[in-house]
């Protein structure tokens, strides 16, 4: 039970941290977008032949989704670390 709480707390903390980082980054130009601008300079008039195939979230929802992904990653990492440690038990020093 204690491990589950630790994993949940880690996921929540990373979710909040990821959201905060995304908020900080929201006023900046992403390097991926900057590279696409170089494409437009090198090949003026190039039009992407396919538009986004999935959802295109608005910026606020995008930040939230990235934070969710980070939180899910933290949860998975915590589960891996904590449950791995519990399989045979740690040897006390």
């Amino acid at each position: 039970m204690r491990r589950a709480w630790i994993a949940a707390a880690a996921a929540l903390a990373v979710f909040a941290g990821g959201w905060w980082a995304a908020e900080l980054a929201s006023g900046t130009a992403g390097s991926d977008e900057s590279a696409m601008q170089v494409v437009e300079q090198l090949s003026p008039g190039y039009e992407p032949w396919m538009s986004d195939t999935g959802l295109t979230p608005d910026p606020a929802r995008e930040r939230l989704l990235f934070a969710f992904q980070a939180g899910a990653g933290a949860l998975l990492f915590a589960v891996g670390v904590l449950w791995r440690g519990a399989r045979t038990g740690r040897r006390e020093p």
């Binding site: 980082a21 995304a22 130009a29 170089v38 986004d52 195939t53 998975l76 399989r87 045979t88 740690r90």
Partner: protein, 219 residues
């Protein structure tokens, strides 16, 4: 490392997809073989770090932002062959839910992140360890250098598709690399520390057993 949907010409998209596909099939077989017992938890941890780090949009110098790559831990723990299948999951998720990358550029993005980056991380880690660099130092370097290498390969992929009219592929590659380098190098240095910390946490989680001998982390 996310080339946006439709930004590579059709022929390039098809070629990168064809180049990446055998690695993904091999990776799925490899993961099924190595992933049993304790190693399932290590795979979960490595996949978690990949999911976590690729979701962090971090502001960097010069008013720009980018993502860490998160591949090094999986490459160090399981070898580069395990990484492509993990990256497919993350890249498809981001293409469909976050409009980052795309399905038409999945092969190219997978090749830079899950194949080239993973091999750089794994080879560098093993090479540095072989010459006596401490485990966590080697881990830091492998994560940092592979993070930059991913963006180097992305630059080359874009340059092959859009060569500079004057200076050709090499000139275009330098232009793309210049866009990525200023942002990515500080993030790569940070990623090295985060990956080393993750490896340390994982190694300490079962002090009686440590990690597999191939990783070389003391228990």
């Amino acid at each position: 490392m996310h080339i946006s949907e439709g930004f590579l010409p059709l022929a390039h998209s098809a070629l990168w997809t064809a180049a990446a596909a055998p690695f993904v099939l091999d990776s799925a077989r490899h993961v099924r073989r190595v992933c049993s017992g304790q190693r399932r938890f290590e795979l979960a941890a490595a996949g978690g770090i990949l999911l976590l780090l690729t979701a962090l949009k971090i502001p960097s110098v010069a008013g720009s932002s980018s993502h860490p790559t998160g591949i090094a831990l999986a490459a160090i723990l399981f070898g580069p062959r395990a990484v492509p299948v993990l990256c497919v999951v993350v890249l498809v998720l981001q293409a469909l839910v976050l409009a980052h990358g795309g399905l038409t550029t999945l092969g190219a993005n997978l090749f830079s992140l899950g194949i080239a980056g993973a091999f750089v991380a794994s080879w560098l880690y093993r090479g540095l360890k072989a010459v006596g660099i401490p485990v966590y130092g080697a881990c830091w370097a492998a994560a940092a250098v592979s993070s930059v290498a991913v963006y180097g390969v992305t630059s080359l992929q874009l340059a092959l598709a859009f060569p500079d009219p004057g200076s050709g592929v090499s000139g275009a590659a330098m232009k793309f690399a210049a866009v990525f380098a200023w942002t990515q190098i500080p993030i790569a240095i940070t990623e090295g520390f985060l990956t080393s910390a993750a490896l340390k946490l994982l190694a300490r989680s079962r002090a009686d057993a440590g990690l597999p001998e191939s990783v070389g982390v003391p228990g």
